[in-house]
Each structure stands twice: as structure tokens, then as C-alpha cells.
Symmetry: C2
Subunit: 384 residues, 2 copies
């Protein structure tokens, strides 16, 4: 039977039709004046989105590439670093730092919990030789937000320590005030809040962090921040730019500017609230102690395999939601509400989840979750 498909996982997220068509335009050359003019516009839009005056570098890579680059470009052999490890992506920071032979200390959290900024302050006061703090603004695997604003307040007072934030699934979803919050390095990617296909990665770098780049002695070539900084002056990238994705990026940045960050973020907050109301109405617990606006993480009811919910929703109803990763596999499922997503995407997804849960034997009244979404939307919807 013909199936309409819906993408409701935390990346890749749906790409608006006008953006897909912009990317389908004939290519232009990456060293042409036309491209430089596009790239200048994009640079401007990225600074708006990152809320920063810092340079924002753009790489042909998925987000992990920029994470790799942040480590290899900013640290030096044997440097001591502190990693907040509260999920799969916190683990990734630690793995990258270890791959480069850094001296890694972790703050290990129970998955689902947010880091206590005071714990970072304490570590820093007893070990001032920590060169960098690595954390997620949003740990996608658990749906948890870490308080990077507060962490930024702490780290800014340490002259020789920088804060490196993975905002891959945070940027464009909720407020990440790079400059105001003293976030020295912010890493992001194209396929989450930015409504683009995967393939672009971004890094913003503060003046304090550039000093780290100047003295870094770890080996690197493709991800070379100093080299990219030089190319940026000419509105180019050091190596061949993924032209079609950059064309799409220009379109989404225009859209985000037109909506305005406040409304863009408000929409995510509203959808998150509605999805959480649906969880409650379906008799399900949510997983994250401090939930983000980008994804709602549901605990599967006792006796029900979360992977089965994901499978039925995808195979029978054509809707891709996400299961749990690593140790959370089978225990949770995740509905994303980031980027090009509106209330009716949530309504149809919740209705499918209801039917899947019913089929698997969970006691719920069909439509209860949908009704909860409607109530939130009806009450809180705002027009620009």
C-alpha cells in the first residue's frame, strides 16, 4: 500500500521544499565571485544564528568532523581536559580526546541527568591545569539540556581554560547565546535545527580559543582552523566547498532570519510542551530530567520493547521516529520536534504512536495524546 513518509527523528530532519529546490539549481564554482558573495551572506546568517561576532567556520563533514577538528585544533599533546559524559555524545567527546592522546577526566552522569555546573567549578578550582571543558548543549541520546550558560559563567574566569560546546542538535532549536554566555567554541551541523541534509559542519571560535589554536601541536590537515580562517577573509573555504549544501544553507538562514530567532525558538518550545502533554495523556513517563526543546524522550511502558514501537510506527505507518542508542536501546523512543516541523507533524506522530502502543497491549484511550497536543496548541499558538 502506498505510504506517505514522515521524518520525525532527531536528524536528519525534513528539508523545506524551497530549500531542496535551491540545492537542485545548477552548480556554481566554489572559487567564483558568485560563490564568494553567497558565502559572505551565509557567514552573516551563521553569526546571527550563533548569536556571535566570532568567525564561524564551515566544513564539508558531518557534525562529528567538526568535533574532531575542535579537539585537534585547540588542544596540545598531553593537555588535561574535562568531559561531561551523560550520554552517547558525551562519550564521543571523550573518545575523540583519547584518540588524540589527551589526559581525559570525565564527569560521569546517570543517563537522563544534566550536569551540575558547580561540579565543574569544583573540578576547575582543584585542577586549574584543565585546558578545556567539553559538554553538549543538548545531549541528543537522552534528550537532556546541559546549562551551558551557567558553565560559561564559570569557565570565563579561568584564563587558560576554554569551553567547547557541542550544539549540533541545539543550534537553531533553542537559545545558544555564543557571545553573551562566553561559549568559546560552539560546534554544529546542518541536519537538525538547520533544516538541511547532513554534510555541513560548523564551528565558531572566540578570540580566547584562537589563542589555543595558535599554539596547538596536535596533527591535523583537513580540519585546519587557522587555514580556514585565512580562506574566510576571501569568503571561501580552504578546500572545495559542498556548493549545493551551501546554497541550501543560504535559503534556510533567510527563512530563520525572516521568522526571527524568538519565534523560531518559541515554535520549538510549544511543540515540545505539546509532545510532553501527549506523553502524560498516553500514560508514559518522559526520560530527561532537564528536557530540551528539540526532542521528547519517552520511556517505553513496562513489558513493551521500545524498538517495537519504533518499528511499527515506521513499517506500518511510514513515520521515522528514533529508538534509544547504546544502553538505552529498547528502553526509550524519541520524537523530534526541531527544524521544519509544525503542530500537525506532532499530531500525526502521536496518533501513530498511540496505535502502535495499543497494538502492543498498552492500555490507553486512542486520541488522548492527540487531544493533549490540540489543547496546548489551541491555548498557546501565536501569530507573527
Amino acid at each position: 500500500m502506498m505510504k506517505k513518509r514522515y521524518l520525525m527523528a532527531p536528524g536528519p530532519t525534513p528539508v523545506p521544499p524551497n530549500v531542496r529546490l535551491a540545492m537542485a539549481e545548477p552548480l556554481i564554482h566554489h572559487r567564483s565571485p558568485q560563490f564568494s558573495s553567497v558565502f559572505a551572506e551565509v557567514q552573516n546568517g551563521l553569526q546571527y544564528l550563533f548569536q556571535t561576532q566570532n568567525e564561524v567556520l564551515t566544513f564539508a563533514a558531518s557534525g562529528t568532523g567538526a568535533m574532531d577538528g575542535a579537539v585537534s585544533n585547540l588542544l596540545s599533546v598531553g593537555d588535561k581536559v574535562l568531559v561531561v559524559r551523560g550520554g552517547k555524545f558525551g562519550e564521543r567527546w571523550a573518545e575523540i580526546c583519547e584518540a588524540y592522546g589527551l589526559n581525559v577526566e570525565n564527569i560521569d552522569l546517570t543517563w537522563g541527568e544534566a550536569v551540575d555546573p558547580d561540579a565543574i567549578a569544583e573540578k576547575l578550582s582543584t585542577k586549574p591545569d584543565i585546558r578545556a571543558i567539553f559538554v553538549q548543549a543538548h545531549e541528543t541520546s537522552t534528550g537532556v539540556k546541559h546549562d551551558v550558560k551557567k558553565i560559561g559563567q564559570i569557565v570565563k574566569d579561568f584564563e587558560d581554560t576554554i569551553l567547547i560546546v557541542d550544539a549540533i542538535s541545539a543550534l537553531g532549536v533553542f537559545d545558544v547565546k555564543t557571545d553573551d554566555w562566553h561559549l568559546d567554541v560552539v560546534v554544529s551541523g546542518s541536519q537538525k535545527g538547520l533544516m538541511l541534509p547532513p554534510g555541513l559542519a560548523f564551528v565558531s571560535i572566540s578570540p580566547k580559543a584562537w589563542e589555543f589554536a595558535d599554539r596547538s601541536d596536535l596533527p591535523k590537515y583537513y580540519f585546519n582552523f587557522l587555514k580556514e580562517r585565512k580562506s574566510l577573509v576571501k569568503n571561501q573555504t580552504a578546500f572545495t566547498s559542498p556548493v549545493s549544501l551551501v546554497m541550501g544553507l543560504r535559503e534556510v538562514l533567510k527563512m530563520i532570519k525572516a521568522e526571527g530567532l524568538d519565534f523560531y525558538f518559541f515554535r520549538h518550545r510549544l511543540l515540545a510542551k505539546a509532545t510532553r502533554a501527549a506523553a502524560k495523556a498516553m500514560g508514559l513517563d518522559t526520560f530527561a530530567k532537564v528536557p530540551s526543546e528539540g526532542v521528547t524522550v519517552f520511556r517505553a511502558p513496562d513489558g513493551i520493547d521500545a524498538q517495537e514501537v519504533v518499528r511499527i510506527v515506521r513499517e506500518k505507518y511510514g513515520i521515522t521516529i528514533a529508538g534509544g542508542q547504546a544502553r538505552l536501546k529498547g528502553k526509550i523512543f524519541r520524537i523530534a520536534h526541531m527544524g521544519y516541523i509544525g503542530p500537525f507533524d506532532i499530531i500525526l506522530t502521536v496518533s501513530a504512536v498511540e496505535m502502535a502502543l495499543k497494538e502492543l497491549g498498552h492500555a490507553l484511550e486512542l486520541g488522548a495524546g492527540v487531544k493533549a497536543v490540540q489543547e496546548v496548541v489551541l491555548k498557546e499558538w501565536k501569530e507573527l
Copy 2:
């Protein structure tokens, strides 16, 4: 005045309309069964194109990313390596090897010349501790083909030495017989012979090279061949795949299979021959001693700045050709004939170059180059 634009530079090259539309389809999730089925098909097509049974890894990166990965994944600290340095991209191999602290020896060529394979044989016989030879199948900056077939014949007899070939602007342009020619590692990218936007990089790895990967101790994370090899078994990539580009890749691989490698390469040979005939008819020398089928490199006539030819052709006529890079800037200009290019693209480009040269004071008869192209096409054109 409205200007139709034409892309005639050696990458990015034009993308066929059906491929652009395939990439404009709504995204699918990179961990879905649908994507795995696409990726399996793509893997098969890549092996056909690389003429190999080896695994071919796919990265979200431009070609340089895969070059970086080839060094960091296959060599170890302090390894001695031999680099053929005959242009900008030979220099890039040396730079990457130096960035990773390898013990680099170069064979330096006059730009425009091809390496003598016997020089490599000699180096290897006197220094059997050379762990890898780095070379370009086609050095894009000079238009020169290196005889990687003969080099493969030599290197295969050295048990502990591998041959690493940059085929970024060679693959899909002329024959690169990975297995028959004993090319242990072949690196390529999406935006040249593959008719795609930039953003995908590929590496094929022989069993002999996998042993090098097993013992490599250089730091790496994003470009991790062993990790990708594990994901390949599930028809996935280790990190988020650039889904839209992979969709386009499936389309171009179908097109290349349908045309067949022999015809695909024949077309490039024919266009190269026609373009060289045009050079002669315009009274211009070509630069490469052993020219590739992918690009024709013209020496600018005495007293004419090649950059001016490039500028007029682009600004006045809307056609992007390439100038010279680094030390060749101002001395040469380059017309590419790779990928989605037919005889009429050559005819229109040659006609624009004629007009630009005339404007700059070069004595030529307008239409002479075009006529030369027509003669070659009329005589040698074949139908499938």
C-alpha cells in the same frame, strides 16, 4: 544582460538534471532500512567504477578529507614515505604526510612532467623501508597523468610497501583499474568524473592496505577506516551520511553503468582529443607532457595573461574555465572535459576562448578552433 552559465572547470563539474532532482527528494533517515538498501546499491556501483573487489568507504568530506584519512589510517609515527610532487596536489600529499610527522621523501618534478616509474623502482630498491608511495593518477593542476599502472607493477613486489593513489579527478574520467593494477588505496571525490556536487569522498582499500590500517598508530577519529569497515557490513556509515548526496550518487552510478565504462571513457578521450585539436588550430601550446583525458591545459600566448582569458570568458560570456594554481597562475588556463560534458560544451567554450584571445590581441582566425573540434567529432563520434 541575461547570461546563461556554463561550468567547464575541473570540479565542480555540471550535475545532470535528473541527479539534481533525485537529490531534491525528501530526505530519508540514515539508519533506516531504506537507506541501507540504497547504500548497498551504491557500494556495488562504486566497486564497478573503481574496478575493484575491495571495500570502498564513503565519507562526508571533500576529496582532501579522504587524502587526510589515507595518511592517518595507514601509516604510523615516523614511517618513511615517498611522494611524487609534480603539482599542487602532489604537494598536498607531502603536506599531509608532514602534518602527521612522517619521514617524507619527495620526487620533485618540473610541473607539466609525468613521473618516471623507474625512478620509483630505484628509490624502493635502495630504501626498502619506504612504507608508502603517494601519487596522483591525474595531477589536476598541470593536467598530467602519472602511469599508476606501471607504478603498481613495481610496488606490488614490495611486501611492506603500499601504493596510495589520488584519483580525485581521474576516477570516472579514464581507466583506473584498482585491482588489475595493484592500486592498494585509491582516493576519490564526488565533484569531478562523478557528476555530483562536492561533499562526498571515497577510499578503496586492498587487503594489503588493511594490514597497514590494523597497525597504524596515528591519531584519527572522524576518518576512521576500521570503524567505517564495520559499519559497511550493515550498509551504513559510522557517522551521519550525507543522505541527499548519496541519493544523487545512486543516480550517477546507474547512468555510468548504463553507458558502460568503455563508452564513458571513450567520450572523455574524444573530447580531450577535440580540445587539443582546437588548441593547435588556435596556435596555442598545451602544457602537460602526458595529458589526461579530463582536462586540457593551455599555455597562454606570449604577452597574454592567462587570468585575463579566464576573466573575460567568465564575466563576459558566463563560462567558468580554470586558471593556473600557485606558480602557474597567469601562465595557463584549463578547460575541463569530465563528467556531464558533451561535444557542444567544448564547441561553445572554444568559441568563447577564441573571442577572448582575439580581444586580448592574439592573432587567430575566429572559428578555427571550433572547426578543429567539429572535425574530430565528425570523424570519431560513435553511437552506443
